[in-house]
Structures are given as structure tokens and as C-alpha cells.
């Protein structure tokens, strides 16, 4: 049954975090979905027509709104969930401000149809730009449908700053996923343009819900952790270190059932993974945390995405400690391979000077060794190819022309001085231009894989993959989607050192979604940037002489050799004149 909606007193209203509630289409959907969940729905259905800002609706089977309250629901600061500010300490609902519906109504064409339990029929209201247009009876089963069309139709300036419809839809999927994780006993269904994207029946456990979302195989790999402390309850599903991502997008925080962002929880997770992950990678995890309502401030930000814990430190140590338990059992092969970053501090200062020199000069051993029997082919031919994995003595080369410094920079003498190239930035520039060329014309070649790689993407990544699939193929990826959200990698762009194809693919997809797109950067542009950024060599990668050669040659053949796609310099030049001057040679 419907609870009565009341107007908040002006004092209470004024103390509730004010500001923009509906900043983007995603926020509108989030508010409407949260209302459905607050109404105690057992099943929610979200339908999207083309794009969120074009039209969406959320239908639930919850308690409904009494016919007499329908118009009140559209008034500011009218809510059935809170009477005074003190009630915030007992808050059990996602909403509490009575601000969402009026805010959405003001910038859209909205229709609410509701039939509370016990009513014979449903009632509807239709609102346009905040003005009531129509009210009447309708047919509907128990529950509420809120339909939002033409968002921001009356605020054209605002429309200009919207994310791409695809990006907004992916973000929406991530949000619905998060609430589906929050409430496994509620069924969730999503339909986009008449096509069903998912239909998750109510299940009994968090892990079953995870299996619905990510597939059985992936869900089985997740580690479980549970804990209780000081009135708090915690459950977690933790990704293996190999599931770590280059962004925090793999993290879902559900605090008192609310989907929130939390740097504190994110740090606690990172802390728990310790050296299982190299720098710059974020564990993927779902965290369900219940804290007493009076120990949590949800009234921090108008979008309610942020929360404040009364006792940050306790929460941090509780989460980090609980997460660490299953992680300590992880054993190699999951340990981090040393030497990626900062592994070199212990080296004596002269180390780089000698590093490039041959290790042992066999021909100079005191003992004349018999030459190996001249079997065909000679071992030298087979091993001299440079791909032999051993750090075996390289054949003594003539005076090296290029040096790698700290596995980060390449030193190349040029006429009148020295050029110092940043290997990552330079490679990024090269790959970026190659990617642009491939995306606009000649398709790149794929190196086939003997052992195709199965990757479990997130729904959002999978959505994006469907969207950018043809472009990825242009870059040289050979992918075939298996049952969503799993994809098979049959081939990777050739000419790259792809250590971990699945991870590279996920990083590239995540990279496309990062940051706020601007008008001039298209999807293709962002894909090229993300590809270049994630596929490029990093500081810490040892390059062979041929690789350094190719890098320098190709850098100076690009259209803008001076900077990487983000505008960072790719090289610095040191003039002999400058050196002479500093040594007092004048």
C-alpha cells in the first residue's frame, strides 16, 4: 500500500543538500529506479527508447502512489520517506528529499501511472516542463510506471553538454547492474529499442546475481569475504588480481543498499590487494556494507552518490582487513612480476653504462673450446635471432648507436647533439597515428592466436564492444562474441607485444569511456587514443636494439613527432653547444 506523501517543513527542506539533482540523463534514470526500489518492488523493468534523453520508462510492482498524492509527488520537498531531519538517522530508503520527480518533470515530458494495492484502477498524470497537462484513469496492474521523454527539451544549452548516447546507456547499464547486485531478490529486466538486454530473475544470493551478470565461469572465480564489526556488516566478492582494471570501474560499492562512490572504500580495497597488483591497476570487487543509519551521512551531495562515514578509520580497517583474508591465500602465478616500476633503485650509479654490454665473451675464455659440431642449422643461427628468451650473451655488436636509459628513455646521438626519447610517449604517438590510419582506411593485420583467449567483460564493456567492434577489427583485433558478456580473442593487432590480450582489450575499452568527451573528439578518436595509450611500451620495458631503432625511425616519420596524443613531449634534445658551454669549452 501507498504511504502518504507529506510536504517537508521549510526548515527541514533548507537543510537538505541542495543543488542540481538531474545533471545528466543517467541521474534521471537513477532517481526513478531508486523510487521503484524504495516502493518495495519485487520486479523492475527499464525500457529505453533510442537513448536515455529521448525516452525511458521504469515500471515496478511496488506499493504505488495514492491517486490523491500523484500531484503532490511532483511538488518540491514532498516525500513519503522522511518527516524531519532526525529521521535521516533511521533512513532505510534511497530517497529522502522529495526533489527528484519535480526536478525531472521540470525538464522533460513525464507521465506517471500508478495503482496502489486495493485500488480498482490506475491513475495517471502527464506533465510537460513542470506544467500539469492531463490527469485521468488508466489500466495497470499494481505498481507504478514512470515514463520520461525528451529530457532537457526546454533547456537547449544543457543538451549541448550531454555525453554520447552510447556512453550514457553504458553508464546506465552499470548503474542498473549495481542495484541488481544490491538487491538480488529483486528481478531486473532491461529492454532497449524493443530488444531485451537482460532479464535477471530474483535469486537468493549475491553470488547467484553475480553469475547472472557476469556469467557462471567468472562468478565462480570471485573470492568471497564476510565480516561483522561494531554494528557493521560486510560482504564482498573480490576479483582475482588478473581481473584488475586500469580504472575503478570494476568496483561496485553498496552502502546500506545504496550505490555510492567512495574513495575511502576504494583505498581500503587497494590496500588489501597490496603487492598482488602493480601500480596503476585497480582491483575489481563488489562490496556490500551495512552500517547503522546514524553512523552514515547520505546528505552530502545532491545526487546522493557520496556518503560520509562517522568513523572513516574503522571502516577502512574493517574493509581492508576483511578483504585481505581470502587474498592471502592467493599464490603464484598471480604474484607481480618485479621490475615494472621503480625496481632499479638498488642499482649502482654506473649500472646503465654497462648494461648494454655483452655478458660473457666466450671466445676469450682461457680455454679453447671445441666448436659445437656443425649440425644443420648451426646453433648460432637458431639462437642469434634475438627472440631467444635467455639473457644470453649477445653477439658483440659494433659501437651501439642507441642506448636505453633506466628502461624508460632512449638516447640517440644526432648531428650536433643528443636526442632523449621517452619510450612510452613516443610509442604512443606512433601507435596513435597508426591507429588513426587503420581506422580511416587500411585495415590492420591480426596476429592469430594458437590458443584463443576467453575474456569475461563487464556488461558495460560488452555493450561498448558491440558498438566499437568494427573499429577494433580495423585495428587488427580478431574477436568473436560468445554469449554475453564473454568474448573470444582469436587474434591481436600484429606488431605489438601483447602480454595479456584480455587485459589489453579491457583496458582499451575502459579507456574509451574515461573522461568527459568533448564535441570534437569522436568515438574513433577516443578509441585511437585509448589503443595507443594501453598498447604502447611502458617505462620499465626492455627494448631490443631493433625495437629502439624502429621506435626512433617511426617517431620521426609521424606527423607530429614532438608530442604524444595528450600533448606531452616525446623527446628532448641536448645540443653539443650546450654541453661544450657547460664543460667550459666555449
Amino acid at each position: 500500500m501507498a504511504r502518504p506523501i507529506l510536504r517537508l517543513s521549510p526548515e527541514t527542506a533548507s537543510r537538505i543538500a541542495a543543488g542540481e539533482v538531474i545533471e545528466r540523463p543517467l541521474s534521471a534514470l537513477k532517481e526513478v529506479l531508486e523510487n521503484a526500489l524504495d516502493a518495495g518492488a519485487h520486479a523492475v523493468e527499464v525500457r529505453v527508447d533510442k537513448a536515455l534523453d529521448h525516452g525511458f520508462l521504469v515500471a515496478d510492482d511496488g506499493g504505488g502512489i495514492a491517486p490523491g498524492d500523484l500531484e503532490l509527488a511532483l511538488e518540491r520537498h514532498a516525500t513519503s520517506k522522511l518527516k524531519s531531519l532526525d529521521d535521516l538517522d533511521l533512513l532505510a530508503t534511497l530517497g529522502f528529499r522529495g526533489e527528484a520527480l519535480p526536478s525531472i518533470a521540470a525538464v522533460s515530458r513525464m507521465r506517471i501511472t500508478s495503482r496502489p494495492a486495493g485500488e480498482e484502477a490506475a491513475t495517471f498524470v502527464a506533465v510537460e516542463g513542470g506544467e500539469l497537462r492531463e490527469k485521468g484513469a488508466a489500466a495497470r496492474a499494481f505498481g507504478t510506471t514512470v515514463e520520461v521523454r525528451d529530457l532537457f527539451f526546454n533547456t537547449p544549452a544543457r543538451r549541448k553538454f550531454l555525453h554520447s548516447p552510447g556512453g550514457e546507456l553504458r553508464a546506465a547499464i552499470r548503474m542498473i547492474e549495481s542495484y541488481a547486485l544490491s538487491l538480488p531478490t529483486t528481478a531486473f529486466r532491461l529492454v532497449v529499442d524493443q530488444k531485451e538486454r537482460f532479464d535477471w530473475a530474483a535469486v537468493a544470493s549475491q553470488r547467484e546475481r553475480a553469475a547472472q551478470i557476469w556469467g557462471q565461469r567468472h562468478a565462480e572465480q570471485l573470492l568471497e569475504a564476510h565480516g561483522e564489526r561494531a554494528g557493521m556488516r560486510l560482504s564482498m566478492l573480490l576479483g582475482l588480481p588478473e581481473h584488475a582494471r586500469s580504472t575503478r570501474e570494476g568496483q561496485v560499492f553498496l552502502v546500506n543498499s545504496r550505490w555510492v562512490q567512495s574513495p575511502a572504500l576504494s583505498q581500503a580495497l587497494r590496500h588489501a590487494y597490496g603487492n598482488l597488483l602493480p601500480g596503476g591497476r585497480f582491483p575489481s570487487a563488489v562490496v556490500w556494507l551495512d552500517v547503522p543509519a546514524d553512523r552514515l551521512d547520505v546528505n552530502v551531495h545532491p545526487t546522493k552518490r557520496e556518503v560520509r562515514f562517522a568513523d572513516d578509520d574503522t571502516v577502512f580497517s574493517f574493509v581492508a582487513g576483511t578483504a585481505a583474508q581470502p587474498l592471502t591465500r592467493i599464490y603464484p602465478p598471480f604474484t607481480v612480476v618485479p621490475g615494472r616500476q621503480g625496481g632499479d633503485e638498488a642499482l649502482p650509479a654506473w649500472a646503465e653504462r654497462v648494461r648494454e654490454q655483452p655478458v660473457v665473451d666466450e671466445s676469450q675464455l682461457g680455454l679453447a673450446l671445441p666448436a659445437s659440431p656443425a649440425s644443420e642449422p648451426s646453433p648460432a643461427a637458431a639462437h642469434g635471432e634475438g627472440a631467444t628468451p635467455a639473457p644470453a650473451p649477445r653477439p658483440a655488436a659494433p659501437e651501439p648507436e642507441l642506448w636505453q636509459l633506466h628502461r624508460t628513455y632512449i638516447l640517440a646521438p644526432v648531428r650536433g647533439g643528443l636526442v632523449i626519447v621517452d619510450q612510452h610517449a613516443a610509442h604512443e604517438r606512433i601507435l596513435y597515428e597508426e591507429a588513426r590510419a587503420r581506422l580511416e582506411g587500411t585495415q590492420g593485420t591480426a596476429q592469430g592466436l594458437l590458443f584463443p583467449v576467453l575474456v569475461d567483460l563487464t556488461r558495460a564493456q560488452f555493450e561498448l564492444l558491440l558498438e566499437v567492434g568494427p573499429h577494433l577489427r580495423q585495428l587488427g583485433w580478431d574477436l568473436s562474441p560468445l554469449s554475453a558478456p564473454t568474448v573470444v580473442i582469436n587474434g591481436v593487432p600484429s606488431g605489438l607485444r601483447v602480454e595479456n590480450p584480455g587485459q589489453l582489450l579491457q583496458d582499451v575499452l575502459d579507456g574509451i569511456g574515461e573522461g568527459v568527451p568533448t564535441a570534437q573528439d569522436s568515438l574513433v578518436e577516443r578509441l585511437a587514443c585509448s589503443h595507443a595509450c594501453h598498447a604502447a611500451w611502458r617505462a620499465g620495458d626492455t627494448l631490443s636494439r631493433e625495437e629502439m631503432r624502429a621506435l626512433v625511425d617511426k617517431l620521426f616519420a609521424t606527423s607530429r613527432p614532438h608530442g604524444d596524443p595528450h600533448g606531452r613531449p616525446t623527446f628532448v634534445r641536448l645540443d653539443l653547444e650546450e654541453l661544450h658551454r657547460r664543460f667550459g669549452r666555449s
Binding site: P391, Q443, T445, L449
Partner: protein, 383 residues
């Protein structure tokens, strides 16, 4: 410690032990070799914890003892000393080397030996014996195909497995695969093979060819360490290493059994063609193209930066026309590892794994080899 040793023997031992010493070690002791004198002779050991080499050389030991000296420095000096007898003794905290003829001496700062990592003791464990040249050949035919990327450590080694009929060495980086086998009874290996780091095998290959006795592979019962022991003349050489843990991919499953298109060519002809044409290929992708048209075969490549080239090769080909891309470097490595005059390519589609095999029996008729290569999908390829 006090002993007399031939300069050549000492230089050999230190030189070989040095092969397992990492230049850029963070632990000072790991830049050293360990010298141990006892009634058996002088044992010189170098290690980086993942791999170690230890050489026992005959000498006259008057007082047993041990110490550590900086590996490279010691080697650099000793190998230049005049041939003939040397005496080696501790003088305070220094290791002193004197020419027996009295003409000269050197002293090296020495470190106490107690902290030096212990060589795993592989005495009572599983043993497999192979002739040195057989072992060297099997390493040479497989190890090049192993991966060097740390992400999948299992692929950084050579998978050695067998049963009572054969032993096989397999390596792959996921782009190509090399497998070589030899008949014989190797039932010890049948449980599930072992993965030996290719680094360790490359150290082994260095002495396996000179071995004057069969090489004994000793595998720790816990299957975490392996040792290779043999005799090189009077020297007893042992290389040991940590095995790679984990499951090797089920490679047999990816070996195509029914590739219908068969192409037979003289090996040196393809090598020549690929080598020349690859000069026009992109330096990273190394992409070249095989064209099979009307019973004719040619190799070509074209890039904006490096121009273009084509060379035809005499070949027997039965099958439909097809174009297929390959990484020239992978192809050359495979072709160079095959000893026979002719080679067969067995292909199916431009996207699926190709088999490259020797034509006819190998010189050692109880041995066999097979290579796989994944194509580069050409932009115009179907599928």
C-alpha cells in the same frame, strides 16, 4: 683454503659459473661466485636464485675451505693469467692467486661464504638420461618458440613430457609452436610433464654439446627444481634451476590434423625468399605474404616506408589459390630449425594454424619434429 690448480681449469670453471650470475643483482653476494675446495677438487658456483651453474674441477687441495669473490672481476683477471699451475689460498680476508713459477700474484677481496645460497640437493630424485648432443638438439629445436612475456609464465619455458615410448620438448608463445620428440623409454615423465625455463635450457645447451658423458636430468620429487649434470672431459658440470609451476596449455589439441593444402619446397629457397622480401616489411609486424596461385608460389611484401618486393619459389602445390600472411621472423626461425632439404607446409585457411614439417626422415631416424605457425590476418582475408 689452499690448493694448486691449472689456470685453464680455473678459467673454465669460473667462466661457466659466471653464466648464471646476473649482472644487476640487488644482493651483493649474488654478484659473486662461490669457491669451495674439498677432497674432490674445487667447485665453483654462480647463481641468481632462479638458475645456477656449478663446475667441479680437479686440483690438489692441501687445506679445504671456501670463499666468495666477485664473479666478473675474478674471471676477467684469471682468464688473462699465464697458462700453467696457480696456487689459490686465503690471505686474511683476501683470496690470493699465485703463479706457480713465482712470477706474479693477485689478491681479490673475498666475502664469507656462509650466506651464499645453497645449491638444491637433487640426489635421491627422479632421473632421465639423454646424450648431450641429443639434448642440445632438442633444446635448439624447441626453446626459440617460447615466450618472453611475463604475463603467462608457463609459456616462458619448454614443456618436457614423455612416456614409455618417447620424450618430447614443446615450446610456444601462442603465435607459433615447436615440438620435437625422440623415441625411447621415458615413463618417469609420464605423470604430467615439467616446464623448464628456457633460460635454464639455454645455459644447458652451452655445455650439452661438449658433454663427454650422457646428461642426467634430475627432477626433484616435489617437481620444483631440476638439475642437469654431466661430465665435460675432467670437469663435472651441473646446471640447476627452478621449474615453472602451473599447467601447460593443452597443445596437442591445437595441432591441426586435417589441413588439406600441401606445399612442398626446398628449405633454403624459402629462407632466401622470405629473408630478402622481409626487408620491405614493417619492422614491427614483419608481415609478409604467401601467394599460392595456379600451382605457383611467391613471397611478397609491401610497405609505404620500405618499398615492396616479391620473389617466386619453385614449389609443389596442390590446392586452391590462397593468400596468407606470416610474421617473417617466426617463419625464418622455424625454417632454420628444420634440418632437412625440403619442408612441407600444411595449410587450411588463411586464418588457421599451419603446420611446417621436415620432408623425409631426419638424420636421426628416431627423432621427429613439427612446427605450427599462426597466420597474420591480411586485411583482404575472408572470415
Amino acid at each position: 683454503m689452499d690448493l694448486t690448480i691449472q689456470q685453464g681449469d680455473l678459467a673454465f670453471a669460473v667462466g661457466r659459473a659466471l653464466g648464471s650470475v646476473q649482472q644487476k643483482s640487488t644482493q651483493p653476494l649474488l654478484s659473486c661466485v662461490l669457491l669451495e675446495a674439498d677432497s674432490k677438487g674445487l667447485r665453483v658456483t654462480g647463481t641468481d636464485l632462479d638458475e645456477g651453474t656449478s663446475v667441479l674441477v680437479p686440483c690438489t687441495v692441501r687445506t679445504p675451505g671456501k670463499c666468495c669473490v666477485l664473479a666478473r672481476h675474478f674471471h676477467d683477471v684469471v682468464r688473462k693469467m699465464p697458462k700453467g699451475a696457480l696456487t689459490l689460498a686465503m690471505s686474511g680476508s683476501q683470496c690470493e692467486v699465485r703463479y706457480a713459477d713465482g712470477k706474479g700474484w693477485s689478491r681479490f677481496p673475498a666475502q664469507p661464504a656462509d650466506e651464499f645460497p645453497r645449491v638444491p640437493d637433487l640426489k635421491g630424485d627422479m632421473r632421465v638420461t639423454l646424450e648431450g648432443e641429443v639434448l642440445a638438439r632438442m633444446i635448439e629445436r624447441s626453446a626459440y618458440a617460447a615466450s618472453t612475456e611475463p604475463a603467462r609464465p608457463q609459456l616462458n619455458g619448454v614443456y618436457v613430457h614423455g612416456n614409455d615410448k618417447f620424450i618430447a620438448f614443446v615450446a610456444t608463445d601462442g603465435h607459433r609452436l615447436a615440438r620435437t620428440s625422440r623415441k625411447g623409454a621415458f615413463g618417469e615423465l609420464s605423470k604430467d610433464g615439467i616446464i623448464v625455463p628456457s633460460r635454464v635450457l639455454n645455459s644447458v645447451a652451452k655445455f650439452a654439446n661438449e658433454a663427454t658423458s650422457p646428461v642426467e636430468m634430475r627432477i626433484a620429487d616435489a617437481r620444483n627444481h631440476i638439475g642437469f649434470a654431466t661430465q665435460v672431459g675432467e670437469y663435472q658440470v651441473q646446471v640447476y634451476g627452478r621449474l615453472i609451476e602451473g599447467q601447460y596449455p593443452n597443445y596437442e589439441q591445437v595441432i591441426p590434423k586435417d589441413n588439406p593444402r600441401e606445399l612442398v619446397m626446398a628449405r633454403t629457397d624459402v629462407i632466401e625468399a622470405v629473408d630478402i622480401v622481409a626487408s620491405h616489411a614493417d619492422s614491427n609486424t614483419q608481415q609478409i605474404r604467401f601467394s599460392l596461385r595456379d600451382g605457383k608460389f611467391s613471397v611478397s611484401s609491401a610497405t609505404a616506408d620500405f618499398g615492396a618486393g616479391e620473389q617466386s619459389v619453385e614449389a609443389e602445390y596442390k590446392g586452391e589459390n590462397m593468400e596468407i600472411g606470416y610474421n617473417a621472423k617466426y617463419l625464418l626461425q622455424i625454417l632454420r630449425s628444420i634440418p632437412t632439404e625440403s619442408v612441407t607446409f600444411r595449410l587450411k585457411t588463411a586464418l588457421s594454424a599451419g603446420v611446417i614439417e621436415p620432408v623425409g626422415a631426419l638424420a636421426q631416424t628416431d627423432e621427429d619434429m613439427l612446427c605450427l605457425i599462426m597466420p597474420l590476418r591480411l586485411p583482404d582475408a575472408a572470415g
